[in-house]
Symmetry: C2
Subunit: 311 residues, 2 copies
């Protein structure tokens, strides 16, 4: 067994995926833990990692968590899951609890950022920086990777909540976002689909006229992101995008909306290489968390190296 | 006279502003040159800088140019003004011509990025990174500064062209963007105002009902940028924003649109510190160009230092 291992945790609202890998990355162990109470769930997470901690092989762990989370290192609640509606998890110091139990360096970010890092480092956006990762599932979230790192500023990105044109005559649904009603997430998330049609998207046939509306909303959002973030690759995952015919519908609408304003081959002719599905499947998040762990480990090595150079 | 000077050029469609400064920055000479033909205009620009080149004091020059420009260093037309509608300037190798005549290292970016850098380094967004600079004038453009540098990816940002909700019953104007009709720029730029009302915005009274519509469009765009870019400060300049009462209207609408989704003091109570006018006035662009010049100069010093260390 390699003696230099890195851990990853994708902490989701329904399940936690944990993994241990060595470089390049190769996953040598994974587990899936149901999300129940913080006490029970985090104890099982620790049980998974303890053997590697004890043998001294685990260098660091990346934690990509569901949110809302506090990623401001100067904040007293840094590392917390804050105002989530999920029972038992409000104001949970998830980072602090894991760090204390496992005694290792941790990297911490949002779960969507984890997937964005994973796809950027080893998946569909490899070699394309900056890149955008968007998940369209129950909710809608995005992560933007620039110089290998997830963009954050005042807070993490909340790009699912942008407002896009809403053509009421074509789409009379009023939207279900409790804060913004007909924002992108309020109109186009899996939850919105279920509310507007009274059935889950999975049960709709491919030729249902609703998919044109869904593709139009997604295309409007992607065009806004393209004009604002100028990514070199857009990876779109999440349950709704399992309907793979949506990709070509969205690409055609994106091309029509940009309308030759940007003259790049990738936008004019090769959009099937520009807007793409994820490549890492269910492991994009946990692989991103492992990349985060590798990054802090190499940073601390560099700091140690530079310190030993000085002394 | 200091023997370490930096040059800046804000190359605009109607005028070029040139300046020479020494650190911290202190402008020691500036000039304004009317934009006529490339030959005539660039000759005058060179005349301004020649004395400093000859005395050996000028280290480098930053060039912040009107566009569209090619900023991809791997492209054969890097440094060109490309498909501009401005007569005589299509496919002008502005960077190459200036570099050849003056024989100095140049930094090159978009004019809006220049203003964004200027306000981030020494103006209204000082100490707030990442920050957003938006100009709402004849057109609408934006620059986003992260880690002190302007964000670019596939190309420069084109955030004036995002689509925002268009409430036709309140605002029946169809928009004037030749590519996207009722995108943000198509609805809210100075050019759009003149077209929709048949008079320039400067001539409208403060209590004209149109300003509510204008503020609503600006607020929608800002909220989309906030959710997508999460800036720590938003600086809004340009001719339209000379109507300073617009700031408070926009702030109130931004707060209403976010609707407590983001719980940050700056968004809840102190928005007058979050969405602000520029502080550097007509020099924000050229000061940004000077910052660009200082940055490449310190980079090349570091490279030289590291090379001499190796040898």
């Amino acid at each position: 067994m390699s003696n230099t291992l890195f851990g990853g945790i994708e902490a989701g609202g329904t399940k936690f995926i944990c993994a241990v890998a060595h470089q390049p990355p190769e996953l040598i162990n994974t587990t899936v833990i149901e999300t129940t109470t913080p006490q029970e769930t985090l104890a099982k997470v620790c049980d998974f990692f303890f053997p590697y901690v004890e043998e001294g092989s685990l260098q660091s762990i990346g934690l990509a968590s569901f949110g809302p989370i506090d990623i401001d290192v100067r904040s007293p609640t840094y590392g917390y899951i804050t105002s989530t509606p999920k029972p038992n998890w409000q104001n949970t110091n998830i980072l602090g609890l894991l760090k204390q139990s496992l005694g290792l360096p941790f990297a911490f970010h949002h779960d969507v950022s984890g997937s964005a890092i994973g796809e950027s480092r080893w998946g569909a956006a490899r070699g394309k920086d900056p890149s955008l990762y968007l998940t369209i599932g129950t909710g809608i979230g995005g992560g933007y990777i620039i110089n290998g790192k997830p963009l954050s500023g005042l807070t993490i990105l909340e790009m699912g909540h942008i407002h896009i044109p809403h053509q009421w005559e074509i789409d009379p649904f009023e939207g279900i976002c409790p804060y913004h009603r007909d924002c992108f997430e309020g109109l186009a998330s899996g939850y919105a689909i279920e509310h507007r049609l009274g059935q889950r998207g999975e049960t709709l046939p491919d030729d249902h006229p609703f998919w044109e509306i869904e593709a139009e909303h997604i295309a409007h959002a992607l065009v806004n992101y393209i004009f604002t973030l100028s990514p070199r690759k857009i990876v779109v995952g999440g349950g709704v995008m399992q309907r793979s015919f949506l990709f070509q519908m969205v690409r055609n609408k994106v091309r029509a909306l940009i309308n030759n304003y940007l003259q790049f081959d990738i936008l004019l002719g090769k959009m099937e290489e520009y807007i793409v599905p994820p490549q890492l499947g269910k492991y994009s998040g946990v692989l991103g968390a492992i990349a985060m762990a590798m990054d802090i480990s190499s940073t601390s090595s560099k700091i140690e190296a530079s310190q030993s150079f000085v002394s």
